[in-house]
Symmetry: D3
Subunit: 156 residues, 6 copies
């Protein structure tokens, strides 16, 4: 029967044992999109030139949050991240967020990539909320992960 690995037979939460796994190179890419208004996108910059620190703030917040994933998500393992990259692309009325995270460890980094996207998105929410309180963070999801026993997974 299928069951969540984060719960034991009685249903109690636990941090699953990865001590038998080998440390291997692993990569995860996650994405999301902050839907807002054309006016807000104009305030953030043109597609080639940011206006002020708004995008940098979101980028840095995403990177810093990736490192703290295990403090936020109760059953995540502490992982030594090898790299974190957060890309922000301005659209017509949205900002597309992509995070790429790498490690050489015993467990995957898709949660770290998802956390980077979410906190970059929250930081954009914070930046724009006085102008667009109706903004929405959408489609926070894994695009691709690689490495470890399960190998490559890509969103279709």
């Amino acid at each position: 029967m299928t069951q969540f690995t984060h719960l034991d037979a009685s249903g109690a939460a636990r941090m699953v044992d990865v001590s038998e796994k080998e440390p291997t190179a692993r990569t995860a890419v996650a994405s999301g999109v902050l839907r807002t208004t054309a006016e807000v996108v104009g305030l953030l910059g043109s597609d080639t030139l940011p206006k002020g620190d708004a995008l940098a703030t979101a980028r840095i917040a995403g990177i810093m949050a990736a490192k703290r994933t295990w403090e936020l998500v109760p059953l995540c393992h502490p992982i030594a991240l090898s790299s974190v990259k957060v890309d922000l692309v301005l659209g017509d009325a949205e900002v597309r967020i992509t995070a790429t995270v790498r490690t050489t460890d015993r467990t995957g980094v898709e949660m770290e990539a998802l956390t980077a996207v979410s906190v970059a998105g929250l930081t954009l929410h914070d930046m724009v909320k006085a102008v667009d309180p109706a903004a929405s963070l959408d489609a926070v999801r894994v695009e691709r992960k690689e490495g470890g026993k399960t190998g490559l997974w890509e969103r279709k």
Copy 2:
């Protein structure tokens, strides 16, 4: 001209000055939805009975994250939260997340409510990822906020 309050005239990021504001009672409600599969929802519980600690873990992660919003979102003020509540409702192939946060302070708590929703959503992502790697966190947004100078705002 419209401008982000989080940036000064030169575009530099700053934590805006709220010292002139009065502490008043403020409430914010945010929501989001984790889209997954019917199988996953079945593993999480029926609509009246959770199976094990999965939902409790997400609820607690959301509450704890709300308190740490100012550590995650660079330009947020530290705020003394008076209450945090995270509700999870199982649908057919999704989990609906709602967070309600209250304070008596100089600034609003919509970022705290959005953070609670996001981290509860990330925790559900983590719980279900082995069964459904394609899950997506959608529509993380403010539903309602109340209190302070701007008064009531409700999503239409």
Copy 3:
């Protein structure tokens, strides 16, 4: 019927609403005891003279942990502490720990005092573990609390 205030009617965890409470001066005193060996107590110091930084390390760890109680205990409110004091008294084969915490806020500080005692005790455990792996932290409990609607409570 008696019920935990930290759970709602359905049993879900929540951070209870204290927004209707008045900020008042509150004090809590908690205590505990690390039971170890006479040899370890000799290494820690005589009752008037500590040897090196061992006791200072425990004292400081307790003070710092009191400030982070709300990060550790999921349903605790963030509280602005006005003072924290951790006293360590060497006995024959034990160290007695007492923490006193004060605030002017909407909720009591007994959890902060208990956390200071526990983390000071853990730090002593860490200091002595190579010499006495069998040490035990006992009787971590509230001695007295004062202020707020419930007024004075003292251990009998």
Copy 4:
């Protein structure tokens, strides 16, 4: 002469050098007991069925705290934990707490297991304090540790 490894020859606190040690598999088990009342145990659940999120909250708080041991205990090394499990067993008028922690690293994890027990205990204290302010956390101690140069140690 016996001396604490956490202090140098002059008595100054330091984080001891483990760089010469080999990373090996290590396990530690710690335990403790929250002494309270039969009424409180009844509110927490029967021995087979918890009532609401109370026990889950303590379990998750203990797991999360284990990961942050090095932030709380000043001279502990940051360790990559492989697994954490917190078990709570209801007795007549007490809750028995056991934590099991594993790692593959250069130093043992008994402090992580003790921290998990302490913070799970603090969280139970917080849950029950309105009903039983006199509750006491007792006998927080190592039961067993394994791995590394010193090998197996078990409480007699």
Copy 5:
């Protein structure tokens, strides 16, 4: 006799009691300077145009660290900051850092301003260390503080 307020009569560290103080508006300004090379300053930008996120990263790191001062400096009180501003000015072979912090609380914010300067400086150190390993952070000090019982203090 003069004595540190952070130590009690026996010399033990404590967090001093501020519960009798009134919350009042307080401001502190601190400064520091990262001495590096003309080449590094050229890489950071001209005096009117930063190149990339380097300065934004330092600014944001300083702001975020100000909020966490009480986690870093053991005897500091947790304080609700009303605003934080970090200014970076490029010189010939140095970067001048100024931080301004405001609060309405029971104790001053000079430690928060000094922490913002230090961590902004550390972040610049990190940015430039591959090009200039010999960089030095100098003259981290209070320039001015205002508010509270002691009133205005200005560096002469």
Copy 6:
């Protein structure tokens, strides 16, 4: 052309990829000096005998901060530190601070050593500020680093 490794070709901040690097033994030594008054140095102790916990508090704060460098400096990697030592030497009107940090990891630890020095210095600032508000933290810089591809670097 010379460029900061922390910025990509477009100038965006990133955490650089160290996954191709081998974990090797690395050491870094950093130093700094708190310039204050002869009176303050007298309150801190003689050169052989500290008075109370003041120096211990700074030493412990420095050690604890070294472990949290990656939380403070946005683009630093999380590193498993093998040892941290903070030495404080009293001069005539100054305190000399030296931190030595070791790891076996993929990247150097000079930022960890610099952070230990800075936070020990901030803690001394905090301790003395009521007596000497004009104190200044100077010359926070790397003295020596060793290990990794670049090998030994020493300040001339």
